[in-house]
Symmetry: C2
Subunit: 423 residues, 2 copies
């Protein structure tokens, strides 16, 4: 039976999930594809003690990447080290040595993807990274195949599991932001420095990769409007619940004519929308397009087995293409001219909660707000002996929102306004 | 620019949806793939008046299929006629003349798929039929790629739009079965003879195709347990609503060890499950597997543009493979040994509604039921001055259910028991 040799860079949980799935699916792969997939070498750091697992799966541990990238017998390299450096240099070496590469590294692909795609093309090898976005949801493959035949208007997704876990707990268990963060860290979802997750950076990286496949555009982090979840106040949560909404950190790409808006921000999602049913660490992506209409793609966004399965699916795609004798890197996005531009006329509805220090009678405040801002609705709620004021605005431009916020300071301190999802 | 010529068999709504999408995506396809897709000939029936549309898109109308299957310039044939004959014979001719074939014909693929797949393989051409199941949801491609690297335990789906539309109306508008059927016919979802839809045959055909991709087994209609929605009574609907369920016609494939159960039946789905959010004519498929865990795939199950887009995506896959110089028919399912066998020990929970002619006091009935059948819960509801009795059983084997039903006749006429979804 033909053998395909694989080298892996890194031996963390995802690599171990990949090894577990490869072992459990070995028989099926050999019977159906007629090939044996063999992991022959795995790169670990100097001094890392991994002999037990190396013995279990029967591969060689190496500490010099060249032992893999310059091994003529290895045709596929899987990078699972994470972070940008030295992963980028190692992948570059592998591609230049005509090895196909599979990676789950979103930071790298978001920031340095174009350069690596170009190197892969020049060397006529494949660069696959389905697992870098939304874990086991095959969204990149679906965008590259089903949606290539379509024109996408909107992609809106929950693509960061950590913050979605936190927001779920803040809603279902009434935990504070701090309690939710601690639980996420204890559950292993959030790192000790949670900045990339809670500030929306991780979601933004994924959105950059999705934008390539969905819209054929290459965005940089600076071009995105990014807002994290640190500012979400318990009053926002209770207000959302009373109004029939849940708060989700949504990444969204919306195309109108040739203009694209790209942002990551906590958003009020109606309880009736499919995205509101994405709970805990799961991910979900909602698409609107000319041909297909509305579709929804839901599954685990992370985890050793789901991510390992996604990496294995990419490896099998490469193997199919090797068997067919075609070595081009088809799994690359298309390009199209789209302008990323803020439209000052763009309007949104917002939710604003005001802190409870309101000295005047609520009925007066409400009356005044309605008079001064006919486009706002004020809802008054009584809870824990405090008075909270929730304002849901009608459609406002950013300038109009700024005006409203200035007026609202007359009635007490207001929290960060939260956008309502467009449906 | 390289030209790829296409022939279409049939010029109904899906063919027109395909032509519309091809035209709107023409520029993108040419720019990205460097090829021109040209529909050169379309087969219509003798006497069919389609010259306006032929002139609009610039193709030739033919009434003899050989003008397409024996045209050396045509490399891709799209079959959109529906029904088994003569579609089967025409596809066979096309494959034997080394043409790749794309079809949306579920009846044909479910019943005669194996023979056609074999002919495609022998002739080294592709046979693609993504649009035959769940319209624009790329479930076959996802099963053949992402899930090839995984072991699926369960596939449960809403794959018939007509009955889902009807059930949605019976729940949301309190329509009777008859009212819902009439509305489905007026909306163009149900045909004048709705047998295939309402009796679950259409869903069963789709399940047969899904079983090939998900489990590598070839089922026949006779091997499936099939139950339609004709028997759904308004009492079932109100009972479901009061208990926090909705009724959906689910097709399900469940694998335990090497045994597979395959059935289509109206099922009580908890309001909290993602499948309950699939409304009207939409489709949704829920999967459980070893590696990925739980995933959900949602989108339109029919319609001219969604189906046309799915057909176009298959055509583009063929074009990619032609460009790569590989002509094998990779989009075919794998095979694995799975036994289709009824397990007499298999248990399920059931919902049973009893018609309101109960002479004894409800409290007595309830007391007796609880005594006689400690594994049942009786719920008593008062509505429209009638008394209805809803029974939700605990886990019962089929034999135990039959016993219970015999006992229940003592308390009045009971309706068909409805299975509760396993979650």
């Amino acid at each position: 039976m033909k053998e395909v040799k694989i080298g892996i860079l890194g031996l963390g949980v995802v690599a171990q999930g990949f090894l577990e799935m490869l072992t459990s699916q070995k028989q099926k792969i050999e019977a159906q594809k007629g090939i044996k997939l063999i992991v022959s070498k795995v790169l670990v750091r100097e001094g890392e003690e991994k002999t037990t697992i190396a013995n279990k799966y029967g591969f060689e541990l190496v500490t010099d990447v060249k032992k893999i990238t310059e091994d003529d017998e290895i045709s596929i390299v899987i990078e699972l080290m994470g972070r940008v450096h030295p992963a980028k240099e190692f992948i570059k070496q592998a591609l230049e040595n005509k090895k196909h590469v599979v990676t789950a590294n979103k930071d790298l692909l978001a920031q340095e993807g174009l350069e690596l795609i170009t190197i892969a093309k020049e060397n006529q090898v494949g660069l696959y990274y389905e697992a870098s976005v939304a874990g086991a949801i095959p969204i990149l493959r679906t965008l590259a195949t089903s949606y290539f035949a379509d024109n996408i208007q909107q992609l809106t997704g929950i693509v960061n599991g950590t913050t979605n876990f936190m927001l779920t707990k803040m809603f279902e268990e009434a935990w504070t932001y701090e309690q939710a963060l601690q639980a996420a860290q204890e559950a292993g979802f959030a790192e000790s420095d949670p900045t990339n997750d809670v500030d929306g950076i991780d979601a933004a990286y994924k959105l950059i990769i999705l934008a390539r496949f969905a819209f054929g555009v290459n965005l940089t982090l600076e071009q995105l409007t990014i807002q994290g979840i640190r500012q979400i106040h318990p009053l926002d949560v209770s207000g959302a619940q009373q109004l029939g909404y849940t708060i989700k950190l949504l990444g969204s790409l919306i195309k109108k004519d040739h203009h694209l808006t790209a942002c990551v921000q906590p958003t009020f999602v109606p309880d009736t929308h499919l995205l509101s049913s994405v709970k805990n660490e799961l991910n979900g992506i909602f698409l609107k397009s000319d041909g297909i209409g509305e579709s929804f793609h839901y599954g685990p966004g992370a985890g050793a087995l789901p991510t390992g399965t996604s990496v294995l699916a990419d490896v099998l795609t490469i193997v199919d293409r090797q068997l067919d004798g075609s070595a081009t890197a088809r799994f690359n996005p298309y390009q199209q001219p789209v302008h990323l531009e803020k439209d000052p006329e763009k309007t949104n509805a917002y939710f604003i909660s005001l802190s409870p220090q309101i000295e005047r009678k609520i009925s007066e405040v409400q009356a005044e707000l309605q008079t001064t801002f006919p486009k706002t609705i004020a809802q008054v709620q009584e809870a824990t002996n405090q008075v909270a004021l929730y304002v849901v605005t009608e459609q406002l431009t950013e300038a109009q929102l700024a005006e409203l916020l200035a007026e609202l300071t007359n009635y007490g301190e207001h929290h960060q306004p939260l956008q309502l999802m467009e449906v």
